[in-house]
Symmetry: C2
Subunit: 488 residues, 2 copies
């Protein structure tokens, strides 16, 4: 260290350059998104494509922003899978909207780390209020909302996976404490080895992972013929386990499974859980957004019996990743499980507002409520409902086209923006169909398999999707089927 270091000046981007760069990027983004339909949805690059396109080391000197801008198409876009293209039908949608992008700019500029209230009061408080707005939009019971005046309330998690894990840890903590009171002679290890949780076999892989992470058994139960977990199945499993000396502590009900968008029977499951004092977590990662439309709320009947509820505005509600909304009736079980409280994080107002670091796995957190605020205001509830309704209508359009072709069958009832279908043939034929469709490079799908039946999934993903796009996607599927069936 020398005194000269005190005078060091960066030779790098200043405010003027930033304005030019950000404005050029804004134009680039608008151009990219408005014309995304014309790009090849999945790039044809091979693993390792990128390394030769960039230098082996970081540059010593600052480069001009124009050099970076010039590399975007060449280096990045050449290897991007365009999730927001109307030709993209894989997985589930992920959100993207103009208001969310601008909100993230502001979040990046403020760049506070909102681990405690004092670390940036606005960051915590806007989140509390936005989760109340959102909870009302969904028709969640008041017992989940902060405005009800109790401890309940919402929090933005990074992902649904984290929400499932957080809920599991809360459930584990609550149960461990209860059992310890009943059996003071048992050690933590004893109790832990007896805990058992439950989910639908079709639950998302993150549920199994949460079990692995939390070090507890999770039983994946057989759904009914419509891929729904039913109350009786759950009840039988619980009673069997209790007879064997285990301690049921956690149930994940999935509303909108990843494979086929099936809905567990929440009403029946809720009854079982509340009668047996078991923590019920609802994972509505994708489908939860639809509950902003009252006509779909029948699918979440029984939600009043849940202890925690989660869905991803970053999937289907136009708020960019990461924004996974979670509500907890009794956050104390989680706060308690996580409470590690060093002096440098203490502050005078503790207790009068949530310190969200106790509600999540990571310590640091961005100002994520801004993008929720911007999206809710710049769309308004009405336009968000339109977005959902339109996607569902487009899915039904695809369903109709597919049903009208007698070579095909619909695998699962279409309720949301997902169509599960297959050729009336063997799995191999359907695997071949998928290979052809993706091989033609015009649209992108992923398959799924339930009970040895392989099928294809068309998810409506893009906010730019129109009727004509669905016809194009259907034509691609049909043409691929023609190829296969002709080839025979």
């Amino acid at each position: 260290m020398s005194d000269q270091d005190l005078k060091l000046k960066f030779e790098t981007m200043e405010a003027g350059d930033f304005k030019d760069f950000a404005k050029a990027m804004t134009d680039y983004i608008a151009e990219y998104l408005e014309n995304i339909r014309d790009r090849q949805v999945v790039p044809s690059v091979k693993p390792g494509y990128l390394r030769p396109l960039v230098p082996e080391q970081a540059p010593e000197k600052a480069e001009p922003w124009t050099a970076v801008m010039a590399d975007i198409e060449r280096v990045v876009m050449s290897g991007v899978t365009h999730w927001h293209s109307p030709r993209f039908h894989a997985y589930f949608p992920t959100a993207n909207s103009y208001p969310a992008i601008v909100a993230d700019m502001l979040s990046g500029a403020i760049a506070c780390i909102g681990f405690t209230w004092i670390a940036s009061p606005a960051c915590t408080e806007l989140e509390v209020v936005m989760l109340d707005w959102l909870g009302q939009m969904l028709g969640l019971p008041e017992s989940f909302l902060a405005r009800s005046g109790g401890e309940a309330g919402g929090v933005i998690q990074g992902t649904a996976s984290e929400a499932t894990l957080v809920a599991l840890l809360g459930a584990k903590n609550r149960t461990m404490l209860r059992v310890k009171e009943q059996h003071p002679e048992w050690t933590d290890t004893d109790i832990l080895s007896k805990l058992v949780g439950y989910c639908n076999k079709q639950a998302h892989s993150s549920v199994e992972r949460a079990g692995l992470l939390g070090g507890v058994k999770l039983r994946a139960l057989q759904p009914d013929g419509k891929r729904r977990l039913r109350g009786d199945t759950l009840k039988d499993a619980i009673e069997e386990d209790v007879r064997n000396g285990l301690i049921p502590f956690y149930v994940v009900a999935t509303l909108g499974t990843t494979s086929s968008c099936a809905f567990d029977n929440l009403e029946e499951i809720g009854e079982v859980c509340s009668s047996k004092n078991i923590w019920l977590h609802v994972d509505a990662a994708y489908a939860g957004s639809a509950f902003i439309c009252p006509e779909y709320r029948y699918l979440m009947k029984g939600v009043d019996k849940a202890d925690s509820f989660n869905f991803n505005p970053h999937k289907w509600m136009l708020v960019n990743f990461d924004c996974s909304a979670m509500w907890l009736k009794e956050p104390r079980w989680i706060i308690d499980a996580f409470n590690v409280d060093p002096l440098y994080l203490k502050h005078d107002q503790q207790g009068s507002a949530p310190d969200y670091r106790h509600w999540q796995i990571p310590l640091g957190r961005r100002f994520r409520a801004l993008k929720l605020w911007f999206v809710l205001r710049l769309y308004g509830v009405e336009n968000l409902q339109k977005h959902i309704r339109k996607h569902i209508a487009l899915a039904h359009l695809f369903e109709r086209l597919c049903s009208a072709d007698e070579r095909f069958e619909i695998y699962e009832e279409v309720t949301m923006g997902l169509v599960c279908f297959r050729l009336k043939g063997g799995n191999e034929q359907n695997e071949e169909l998928l290979r052809r469709i993706n091989g033609r490079g015009k649209i992108h799908l992923v398959p799924s398999k339930i009970d040895d039946t392989y099928f294809l999934r068309v998810a409506i993903c893009s906010r730019f999707s129109e009727e004509s796009d669905i016809h194009i996607s259907w034509e691609e599927v049909k043409a691929s089927a023609d190829e296969i069936l002709k080839a025979r």
Copy 2:
């Protein structure tokens, strides 16, 4: 659902409006950051301030962007703690730079979810290469880099807390498998209850939390007089535990503790871990950025013995949150621990490029490598080094000012951008000092306490900090001390 839904159009932000809004936001951000020094660093709001400032519910209809823009000062900025103000000296810095903000715009526009290679090849591949660039900048051994051709390589985690947990899970998996081979008669529960990890008592709270989450014992060991964990202490603890039938499996060495920026003796610790086949994780969350300056690498001597290494470019290297860089020599132990592989996430190229979802706790992940790429290119290594050197020089300036006032003492040797100091008096006097300083509202500090000694921390946080700012901060400290000492 009705057929009319197919024709639904949003009445909301289109590309033209987006351009106007994003450009207005760009100007606002430049104005905000360039004049941040003039804002009150911590707002004077009370818990609950925000709710009355916004409606009780989300609007039904879309609002114009100008309405949102008009609310930013009133609703948000009135409650923001300005982490990037030169008057902010709390915690450790968090990064913020113009290039990173623009990169995040692009990341938001592409909005891919990079859980597998195929889900967006560019997202995975740029990350692999950027972590190689960064590893070289730090002088990490080749055995951590992807370009070495083996399985090793880097990954961007959301936070250092997650990195510590991921490493712990890898260590747990590796050890469980080894012990199971040696003792096929032991159950998982048996083994788990014997595992024990180690860290410095001064390790970050996230280490204790990782132990809680992972369900394993972690022993916090007593550091030497300079708050450094030493090899002998570790060795003794391990040997004691082995005698008692436990299985040591994990050590976290901290380079730059949160309390006082002390450095564990990595060389000694590395020797112990490698001789005993224990996973060594290095947590250099804050201080790691300094290793881009060769003159500080002496502090990471022994890093070649580590299994995993982590630091946060989102703290001190001008890459906006979230960007925590982690390298693993043998990622297979983590991939293995997490490998839950549903059909809809499988793809043809599996194995030839990393599928990063197996390297992390969440499933979803943003395109975070872009901001690393933009920052490295638009600053260049040279300017990033200047940033580090200048912050360290400013810390030494504060140290000199403080040392020259005989009422004060420096609590910890200043090596990085943190000065730990106190009045030569009791803890209560120092608590009073902090209350006065923060109460005057000009600057913001947080305290710490080690072995019953309470002290104050001045972290150099802002990239706008200049010599004159340090003088102002020192004057604030001095004036507060004058008040107290006069009052007696």
